[in-house]
Symmetry: C2
C-alpha cells in the first residue's frame, strides 16, 4: 500500500464536518480510487468545544489555522474557512510557500486572489484546486478545465446561486413577492440571516469570474462583472414571464468575443424549453458552449454539506493521484487579459416592467421614449386593476418585451424616462436569454 496523503482541515463548519464524515464513510472506496489512503492529520477551527457530530480526537488540533501549513505531518491543506482575505488567504499563501498543495471551497478568495495563488502554486509545482468553490458538488471546474479542454468556449452561463434559485422558483410555484419568500427561506434555513452576498448576486459573480477565466483562458477579472440580484423581482414579473413563455432566473453569463470579455449576473427571462428553465429549488446548473462539442449542460446540488464535501474530496483524490496541472487550465503566463466588452453594443431582447399611474398620456410618454431611443416593441401587456405592491390605487403595471437590438437603446429609453411623473417606481429590466 502506498503512503497516505495527509490532509490538514482548516475550518470545521458544515463543509468541514462533511469532509470528515465522507472520508470516514467512503474510506475504503476512496483508497481504491486514489491509489492510496487519504487521512486527516490535523484540524483547526475557532471553537474546539463545539459539537459537530464528528469525532475530532484522532486529529491534532491547532487553535490558529496558520500553524497548519508548516506541520511536518501535512501534505495538503483543505481550507474551508471562507472570506476573501484574512486567515484563509494567509493560510493559502503559507501553504503554497511551504511547497504543499492547497484545496479550497472559497469562491471569494479565488475570485479576488486566484491569479496570485495560481502563480505561487505553479512556481512551487503543487496543486491549487477549487472544485468546491463553484456550483458545489457539480464537477464543472473539471468539466471545463479538462472535459471541454479541446474547445474554444464561446459562452459559459448558468444558475450559480441556490438561494436565489430557491426563492425564484418558490415565487413561481407558491406565489408571493420577493420579501415574503425570502423571509420564509430564512426561516427554513435556505437563506442566511444576512443574505446580501446571495441575493445581490455577489456570490454568483465570484463563481462567474472563475468560470470565465477557466473557459476563456483569460486572467481572472472579478471587478468587471456587472452584478445585480433578485430584490426587484415581484410576483407580477414571474406571472407575466410565464404568460410570455419564460421563467425568471438569476443567470451569471460570460462570453468571449474578439478579445473582449462580457461578464454579467442579472435576472433573465429563460425560455421554457431551455435547460435552465427546468432547474428548480436550490439546484445549480451550468451551460458551456464549445466550438466543437456544442452545448454541454451540468446540473446538481450547488451547496450543502454532502455535495460540497464531495467536491473537496474529489480535489484531494486528484492530488493523491498526482493529477494536477495549472489552476486555470493553462500556465499562469499564458492567460491573456481582455478588455470588458462595451455592453451597449451587445444585442438582445429585454423585458421591461413599468409601474405607472393609470391616467391619460402615460402610455404615449413611454412609447415615445422607446421610439426616440430606437427601441422596437415586440409585445406589450397592461393589465387592468391596481398593482398592489406599489401601494397606490391608481398604479398599474405596464410590461414590454423589446425586439432584439443594442442594449444601449434600452438604457437610453430608461434614461429618457428618468424622473418622469408617469412612473410610480423604478422600472424593472430583465434580459431575455436567447441562447
Amino acid at each position: 500500500m502506498s503512503e497516505a496523503l495527509r490532509v490538514a482541515l482548516a475550518g470545521l463548519g458544515t463543509v468541514g464536518a462533511g469532509v470528515i464524515k465522507l472520508l470516514d464513510e467512503n474510506r475504503e472506496l476512496i483508497e481504491r480510487r486514489a491509489g492510496r489512503p487519504i487521512e486527516i492529520t490535523a484540524v483547526s477551527a475557532r471553537d474546539r468545544s463545539r459539537d459537530r457530530g464528528v469525532d475530532l480526537s484522532p486529529f491534532a488540533w491547532e487553535d490558529d489555522s496558520a500553524a497548519l501549513a508548516a506541520r511536518a505531518d501535512v501534505d495538503v491543506v483543505a481550507e474551508l474557512i471562507g472570506g476573501s482575505d484574512g486567515p484563509a488567504l494567509n493560510l493559502a499563501r503559507d501553504t503554497l510557500k511551504a511547497g504543499k498543495s492547497f484545496v479550497t471551497a472559497n469562491k471569494a478568495m479565488i475570485a479576488h486572489h486566484g491569479l496570485e495563488l495560481a502563480e505561487m502554486a505553479e512556481k512551487a509545482k503543487v496543486a491549487l484546486k477549487y472544485e468546491a468553490a463553484v456550483a458545489g458538488g457539480i464537477p464543472v471546474i473539471k468539466g471545463l478545465r479538462e472535459g471541454a479542454a479541446a474547445n474554444a468556449i464561446t459562452s459559459v452561463y448558468g444558475i450559480l446561486n441556490g438561494t436565489c434559485n430557491y426563492i425564484l422558483t418558490e415565487m413561481e410555484s407558491a406565489g408571493g413577492d420577493f420579501s415574503d419568500v425570502l423571509a420564509e427561506a430564512q426561516a427554513l434555513g435556505y437563506a442566511e440571516a444576512d443574505p446580501t452576498f446571495d441575493i445581490d448576486g455577489i456570490d454568483a459573480a465570484h463563481k462567474l469570474a472563475i468560470l470565465a477565466s477557466l473557459s476563456f483562458g483569460t486572467a481572472l477579472d472579478f471587478d468587471s462583472v456587472a452584478t445585480s440580484g433578485i430584490r426587484q423581482v415581484i410576483a407580477a414579473d414571474i406571472a407575466e414571464a410565464r404568460a410570455l413563455g419564460f421563467k425568471v432566473r438569476l443567470v451569471g453569463m460570460a462570453e468571449a468575443n474578439g478579445g473582449k470579455l462580457f461578464q454579467r449576473v442579472h435576472c433573465c427571462l429563460v425560455p421554457r424549453k431551455h435547460p435552465l428553465a427546468h432547474v428548480a429549488g436550490s439546484l445549480n446548473a451550468i451551460v458551456a458552449q464549445g466550438n466543437f462539442v456544442g452545448r454541454l449542460f451540468f446540473e446538481g446540488a450547488g451547496a450543502g454539506e454532502g455535495p460540497t464535501a464531495s467536491a473537496v474530496v474529489a480535489d484531494l483524490i486528484d492530488v493523491a493521484r498526482g493529477e494536477y496541472g495549472p489552476a486555470f487550465a493553462m500556465p499562469f503566463a499564458r492567460l491573456t487579459t481582455s478588455d470588458p466588452v462595451n455592453v451597449g453594443e451587445r444585442r438582445g431582447r429585454a423585458y421591461l416592467r413599468f409601474a405607472v399611474h393609470d391616467r391619460p398620456g402615460v402610455l404615449a410618454e413611454i412609447t415615445a421614449a422607446m421610439r426616440d431611443a430606437n427601441v422596437s416593441i415586440e409585445s406589450m401587456i397592461q393589465r387592468g386593476g391596481a398593482a398592489p405592491s406599489e401601494g397606490s390605487d391608481d398604479v398599474v403595471h405596464l410590461i414590454m418585451v423589446t425586439h432584439e437590438g443594442p442594449e444601449r437603446c434600452v438604457a437610453d429609453a430608461l434614461e429618457r424616462l428618468r424622473g418622469s411623473q408617469s412612473l410610480a417606481g423604478e422600472p424593472m429590466l430583465m434580459h431575455i436569454l436567447d441562447l
Copy 2:
C-alpha cells in the same frame, strides 16, 4: 516549448476527420492548455483517395493500421475504426504492448475487452482512455472517474443512444409509429441504414456496462446487461404515457446493491418533471446518484463529428498533461466482481399495453391473471375504437399501470396470459422510472 505529443490516427471517418479539423482549428488554444503541442504524425484508413475535406498530406500514411503502433514518430494512438474485435482490437493490443498510450471512441471494444486492455495499460504504465466511447462530447467518463470519485455511486442511468431518443421524441412531437419515424430518420441521416445496434439497445448496453464498471468499481460485465430496444413502441404508448404524466425514453440503468449488480437497457416511462424527460432529439444525458453529492446530471451531444472529436482530443490533452491513471478509476486488481441481481426481486411500477379483442370476458381474463400473479393495478385505460396498428377491426388497447411491486409478479402475469386467445399481439411492458 515542450516537445509535441505525437498522435497516430487510425480510421478517417467522420470522427477521424473531426479530430484533424479540431486539432488544426484550436491548435494554439490546445497547446496552451496541454502545455505542449499535439501533432498528428501518421494516419491510416481503408481508402486513401477518398475526399474527407481535410488535408492529409502533412501526415505519414499507413495502409495497414497495425503499422501505426510500432512507428517511432508516434507517442499515442487514437483508434476511430470501430468494431469490438478485428483491426481495432489488434491495434489496441499492439499499441499497449509497445508501451504507448491508447485513446479510443470504440464502445463495443471497451465493453467487450476493456478489462484486458486496462490491465495491459496498467502494466505498461500508459493511458487507456475512452471518453468518446460513452455519450460523445459529454465528459461523463471524467465526471464519474474523477469528478464524483469521492462518492459511492448507488445508481447511474441515462439516455445513451441519440438515434433512439431522436425517434422517440419525434414520435412525441410529430406522432407516428416507430417504423414510419425510423424511415424518416434514416432519410435524414439520423439513423443508419442498418439501425440494429442502435434501436435494439445494444449500443446503449455497451455504454451502460462501461458506466457501471466505472461507477461501482466492478469488473466490466457486458454480458449481463438485459437489453431491449424501441421497436415495440407505438404511437398509442407515447400518447397514453403523456396522458399519465410521462415521456417514453430508452433508459440504460445500472444499480449496485449489496454486491449485486443490476444493468438494464429498456423503454421506460419517465415522469415529466425528471431531468431525463426534457432530453430531446439526439441528445444524450446521464444521471449519477452519489451518497454525498446527491444527483448529478450531465447533458450534451452524444454523437457527431464535433462532439466526438472534442472527447477524443480531451483524452489526448490528458495524455499530453501526463494526467492519467487506471482506466476504470482504480487499479485493475481492485475491481470487484458482482453477481447480477435477481431482477424478479426488484421492485417498481410497470406500464403494460395489451392489444385485445374487443369482446366479453377479455377484461376479466386479464385482470384475473393480474390478481393471480399478485399484481395490483394503479390505473387502467381502455379507449373505445379500433387500434389500427394491430390491423384488425375488433382490436383495442388496454393500458395498465401497476402499483409498485416485485418485477417477478408482472412477469408471472404475462406468463399466465401467454397464448391467450384474448390477446391480438405481444403485450408491451415498460418500467416506470421512479428515481
